[in-house]
């Protein structure tokens, strides 16, 4: 690295690109010691003060609770409980406004303090290190500790490592780079020893090779206090130059280690775990003192409060009461920011409560934080790119976001933007860049969610298709079996023939089941084990039938010595299921860390998988306990055996690849050897796969009714027969049109939003009885007319586009929509019919219906696609 600064020989600090130096405004609040916050008349405790699933209430309205008592328990793998910040009565459980950019309400517990502040049971630990890491983690989770510096990710989850995860650096974040905020600064100055104790707990849990504590050079007192407290502890206090956003997790990692976290990855993947000093302090309180997380230190600052400083506030304290406590001057209060000035959110409802992540409250007049100036044209000056810590090109991102060109925006790594606001801070044209990025990211997430939804719907359909097929086969087998049973007393020769037929049917059913299971596996169906169990059952039946055929010949009893095999199978299933669960959990964690939309889904999937794994474990236990399993030995099916071999070989290959990668990363000497090994394994896996394919080809094909969407050509609504040159010209035209449409749409959305914001501000002003409303009214009017204007233009362009669509496809939008709707209705009717007839109709009818269903599904698919294409091509997304 070029940008490497040396400080005091061993103290090595790297640099990160970009960054800015806004005025610090720290001295307003960091000169006085931490003061206790107010005891409000009501505490409003959101059930979701963290990232992850909301907590589940354990109390009811009217319950009297003691300080520190559990009010709500964590709900699922990534969640955190809520405790009573003081003693009192639960007076309500229900939605209340909370800190959320969209001003949403969320479920909260409302607690009325009794003023006695009586503690419930506390269980302080004299020596937490006597506990096992697992027990400690449990206690940390119980104490409701979440990351206090940032998004509020549950700490117990963040510090529980996977099997192969090794922590090289534990980084403790005491940087506090945002202007105005001094909560960590004061905490480090006054309670350094406690922080060090908390860090030692982290060290015990994570066993890092080294522990680095980063702190900006504008906090010399805090650094000195920590150095003094860290004497004898294995903590390296490193002072980094003041530069925003050096306290961003990724930037701090880069500053202290020179490592970069891969795009979309987590710090642990480069061997780093980051924790905030406030979190370390909370850990200390939770373990050594037995106090759960019920308060935090919040900076109150700005020129509209008389007593700026740091307050130790009870969680759930309404913002208004804290402001009152700090001596707010309401006539000066024009902007209220929760969080720092660079990344915080403006509040317009001071009734909302402070939560675990609320580190700062800025009550400012427009002298301190002036109104945003009107946005001017981007002059491509590049100041934003120079300031961006992620080395993005903000001006390009802005350009694409503004034109709704989400694909290009993603190509320019929009998703790597940390929304630090450095670019918007330096932009001379006052462009609210971050607002554009948030908007575009939101759109991208919505699109991804929709795609996922569509995929799931398709999977469901296919799964049902497979089920129908399987059920049919089963029924057929049953029917034959019945027939055979009826005919059993008949002549022996007859019997043998019937048995043979039954055996054939049974093996057909078995193969269908195998196929269904395989498809499920490819799909990653969570019910995979069910399919696998089904396969086992079919196999048993088939084997029994085969045996019966043999017996009929030899009259020998079938062997039933099956115990060990069943158990081995179960064991494997258990292992698979728990691996799947772990995977899902990891995924869910990552999703949560990124605040992805699908996090909740992933989490619930993880839950399902866990339940499945548990069930299987129980089954295994039962099997071991001696309950006879019913699976007889199977004559080893070559396909099955091969499949297993393939699976084993490919997992061996994957493991080898992973090992190779790791080795390469560490520049280990044996990387070459490992790579050769991986190659060999791959060759083997390939060979086995080929064998499997051959074997399958040799085996008889099972009947297949599922439609293949690719089977039929799709000429329904493509371009009219025109000359090629014309077509491409009109394509270009369409692309241009679409671009224009998108740009207009964004413009309209932005204009509308601004208008709405202004309007609600005006309403509020009216309610609050402000006098001088003329200027605001004028602004609202102006914004409204601008929005209307854009809307008109948009409508005109839409009409034009629809007309051109009509000319282009020969069908207008309505026809296309009708087509799609018709096809889907037909599909639904048919599948209802199939459902109705499934148990009564004969086989042929069912088969016919199934294949008809397939055709209809295909038609519906085509119609939908044509519609979607038309919409996309012409930029007319459905409103």
């Amino acid at each position: 690295m070029l940008a490497r600064l040396f400080r005091g020989g061993t103290r090595e600090i790297f640099d990160f690109p970009g960054g800015i130096h806004p005025p610090e405004h720290k001295s307003e609040s960091n000169t006085t010691p931490i003061l206790p916050g107010p005891l409000p008349s009501q505490l409003i405790l959101p059930l979701n003060m963290h990232i992850g699933a909301p907590a589940r209430p354990l109390v009811q309205v009217g319950d009297k609770v003691l300080k520190g008592q559990h009010l709500a328990e964590g709900n699922g793998a990534v969640s955190a409980p809520v405790h009573a910040p003081t003693s009192g009565t639960v007076v309500a459980i229900g939605p209340r406004p909370i800190q959320h950019p969209s001003g949403m309400d969320a479920p909260c517990l409302v607690l009325e303090p009794d003023g006695e502040d009586r503690w419930g049971d506390r269980a302080p630990l004299d020596d937490p290190f006597a506990l096992s890491p697992g027990e400690l983690l449990e206690r940390i989770a119980e104490a409701g500790i979440v990351g206090l510096g940032g998004a509020g990710f549950p700490t117990s989850v963040k510090v529980s490592l996977g099997d192969h995860q090794r922590v090289r650096e534990l980084i403790v974040n005491g940087v506090e780079c945002e202007p105005f905020i001094t909560a960590d600064d004061r905490l480090m100055r006054e309670r350094a020893a406690d922080i060090v104790q908390g860090i030692q707990v982290l060290q015990y849990l994570l066993n890092p090779e080294r522990t680095l504590l980063g702190i900006e050079d504008n906090k010399p007192e805090a650094a000195a206090a920590l150095r003094a407290a860290a004497v004898g502890a294995d903590i390296d206090v490193r002072v980094v130059p003041t530069k925003y956003p050096s306290g961003g997790e990724k930037q701090l990692i880069q500053l202290l280690t020179g490592k970069e976290v891969g795009s979309g990855g987590l710090p642990i993947q480069v061997g780093v775990v980051c924790q905030n000093v406030g979190t370390a302090y909370a850990l200390k309180r939770a373990l050594f003192d037995g106090e759960p997380l019920i308060s935090r230190i919040t900076t109150v600052t700005g020129d509209a409060v008389a007593r700026p400083g740091n307050y130790e506030v009870l969680l759930g304290t309404p913002v208004a009461e804290l402001l009152q406590h700090a001596g707010v001057d309401k006539t000066r209060l024009q902007r209220l920011v929760l969080g720092g000035p660079m990344m915080g959110f403006t509040l317009h409802n001071p009734a909302i409560p402070l939560v675990k992540t609320s580190n700062c409250l800025i009550a400012a007049s427009t002298d301190l934080l002036p109104e945003p100036e009107p946005e001017q044209a981007c002059i491509r000056c590049g100041a934003c790119a120079d300031a961006c810590p992620a080395s993005l090109l903000p001006q390009q991102l802005y350009w694409y976001a503004k034109n709704d060109d989400l694909e290009r925006a993603q190509q320019q790594n929009l998703m790597d933007c940390i929304e630090c606001g450095a670019c918007a801070y330096v932009c001379p044209s006052h462009i609210p860049l971050v607002q554009y990025y948030r908007y575009a990211k939101g759109e991208i997430r919505i699109q991804a969610a929709e795609r996922a939804k569509a995929d799931r719907a398709r999977e469901r359909f296919e799964a049902r298709q497979a089920r129908v097929e399987k059920e049919q086969a089963e029924k057929e087998a049953r029917r034959r079996a019945r027939q055979q049973a009826n005919r059993a007393p008949a002549a022996a020769g007859d019997n043998a023939a019937a048995l043979k037929q039954a055996s054939l049917d049974a093996s057909k059913a078995y193969k269908a089941a195998v196929k269904a299971a395989k498809e499920a596996e490819n799909r990653g169906d969570p019910d995979l084990t069910r399919y696998q169990a089904e396969v086992e059952k079919r196999k048993t039946a088939a084997d029994q039938a085969k045996a019966a055929v043999r017996d009929a010949g030899k009259a020998a009893p079938p062997s039933t010595d099956t115990h060990p095999k069943a158990e081995a199978d179960l064991k494997k299933q258990v292992a698979d299921a728990s691996a799947a669960y772990k995977n899902a959990l990891r995924e869910a964690k990552a999703a949560l860390a990124e605040e992805r939309e699908d996090a909740a889904t992933l989490q619930s999937r993880a839950e399902t998988l866990k339940a499945e794994a548990d069930r299987l474990k129980a089954a295994l236990r039962d099997a071991r306990a001696g309950q006879p399993a019913s699976a007889p030995t199977a004559a080893p099916d070559p396909v099955e055996a091969l499949k297993k071999a393939v699976a084993e070989a490919s997992s061996a290959y994957k493991a080898a690849v992973k090992a190779t990668k790791e080795a390469e990363q560490n520049e280990a000497d044996d990387a070459a050897r490992l790579r050769a090994e991986a190659d060999r394994l791959k060759a083997k896996a390939d060979e086995l796969k080929q064998q499997l394919r051959d074997a399958k080809a040799a085996a008889p094909a099972t009947p297949k009714a599922a439609p293949s969407p690719a089977a039929a050509a799709a000429p329904t609504t493509t371009e009219p027969a025109g000359a090629g040159g014309q077509a491409s010209a009109s394509d270009e035209e369409a692309a241009k049109q679409q671009k224009r449409l998108n740009a207009l749409k964004t413009a309209y959305k932005m204009a509308h939003k601004q208008y709405k914001e202004a309007h609600s501000a005006l309403d509020r002003a009216r309610r609050d009885g402000a006098v001088d409303l003329a200027a605001m009214e004028a602004r609202v009017e102006k914004l409204k007319s601008k929005a209307d204007h854009t809307r008109d233009a948009l409508d005109a362009l839409m009409d034009e586009t629809k007309a051109s669509l009509l000319a282009h496809t020969g069908k207008d939008l309505k026809t296309l929509k009708l087509d799609a709707a018709r096809a889907e209705t037909a599909l639904r009717d048919k599948s209802d019919e199939l459902k109705r007839l499934r148990d009564t109709a004969d086989e042929d009818t069912l088969k016919r219906l199934t294949s008809e269903l397939g055709t209809l599904e295909h038609d519906a698919h085509l119609a939908r696609r044509a519609l979607k294409q038309a919409l996309e091509e012409h930029g007319l997304t459905e409103e």
Partner: protein, 341 residues
């Protein structure tokens, strides 16, 4: 309480586009002063006139495009375009010449492309090239400056109004002179205009003044160092090499650096952010290529100076340069080569 509802960040840096543009205008003042001192008040008249035309054209176009006039005029970019173009014109330029150039620059090169930030070419240079191609005589007619007489105020005003050629006052610029007599040692020696203190007579002072203004812009961080430095190096290096080889046919680097529009181009024109490359690496390449092109055209081309042509050519190439110099995003192994602008 009527609280402001706004997106983060809630605080903004002190830099403002209007302010940037004002700084650029201040920085041209030394150059303007020297030009006036050496060549009469023709340039001054033209600058004022150009500003007037530019603001009117901009306002009319904004109105036609339905944009808020006051807001966009406040960014000052039209004034900057006007000033830079007027500074590049000969002091003898009559009012109509300036009018055509400025109007074309604002209406066609800027507003028809979508206004500030959307124009792929530097508007001032587009206007300049249009004039150079359409009115080559008027555009190469320089007056005054040693060894000739500096026109007085009245003469300049007449000239500006389009009356009367200033016979006996007109002459060629040092660049032009050198090109005409390159290789002829005798003639080169006799041309007084080529023998200033360290470069062409008079012009060395003009360039020095623009250099000063440019350093001011650098100091105020209005422009970055990448483009000017690369520009000057790109011009000086080939000049140095060629001059070492044959000083009679090739002018020395100092002469190149302090003649014609070099300093104006390096600090004021090539640095126009809208039409330049965006990343630091891209800007180094961009600047260097302009410098090299200027030397090539000055030495082998048919025009006496080449700043305008070179800048426009590189404006054309800027998207490509951007495409190949995208920075590597944090957390990515290598830079993606995506669509440029």
């Amino acid at each position: 309480m009527a609280l402001i509802n706004a997106s983060s960040p809630h605080t903004r840096g002190p830099v403002d586009t209007g302010m940037v543009m004002r700084q650029v205008i201040y920085a041209t003042l030394p150059g303007l002063a020297i030009l006036t001192l050496l060549f009469g008040i023709g340039t001054l008249l033209n600058v004022v006139w150009a500003i007037l035309v530019a603001v009117l054209c901009e306002a009319a176009m904004l109105r036609a495009r339905g944009r808020p006039i006051a807001l966009y005029l406040r960014d000052g970019s039209a004034v900057v375009t006007a000033v830079l173009l007027a500074l590049a014109l000969p002091p003898t330029a009559p009012w109509w010449l300036t009018f055509i150039g400025v109007a074309f620059a604002i209406i066609v090169a800027k507003q028809l492309y979508g206004g500030l930030g959307m124009n792929p070419f530097n508007p001032a240079m587009v206007g300049y090239v249009l004039l150079l191609i359409s009115f080559p005589v008027a555009m190469t007619n320089w007056v005054g400056g040693a060894p000739y007489r500096t026109p007085d105020v009245l003469e300049s005003v007449f000239q500006f109004l389009g009356h009367g050629a200033l016979d006996g006052l007109s002459g060629a610029t040092p660049l032009d002179t050198f090109r005409t007599f390159a290789g002829n040692a005798d003639a080169l020696d006799r041309m007084i205009v080529l023998h200033g203190r360290w470069a062409g007579l008079g012009w060395e002072w003009v360039n020095l003044a623009f250099l000063l203004g440019g350093l001011y812009l650098l100091f105020r961080r209005v422009i970055g160092w990448h483009i000017p430095l690369a520009f000057l190096a790109g011009l000086a290096l080939p000049a140095l090499i060629a001059w070492q080889i044959d000083p009679l046919r090739y002018a020395d680097p100092l002469f190149h650096l302090f003649s014609g529009g070099t300093m104006l181009g390096a600090f004021f024109i090539a640095t126009d952010p809208v039409s330049a490359a965006t990343s630091s690496r891209g800007r180094l390449i961009y600047g260097a290529l302009i410098g090299i092109l200027i030397w090539v055209i000055r030495t082998y081309g048919g025009y006496p100076d080449a700043v305008a042509f070179s800048v426009l050519l590189l404006n054309l190439a800027a998207p490509f340069i951007d495409y190949y110099t995208r920075p590597r995003t944090y957390g990515h192994e290598r830079a993606k080569r995506g669509a440029g602008s």
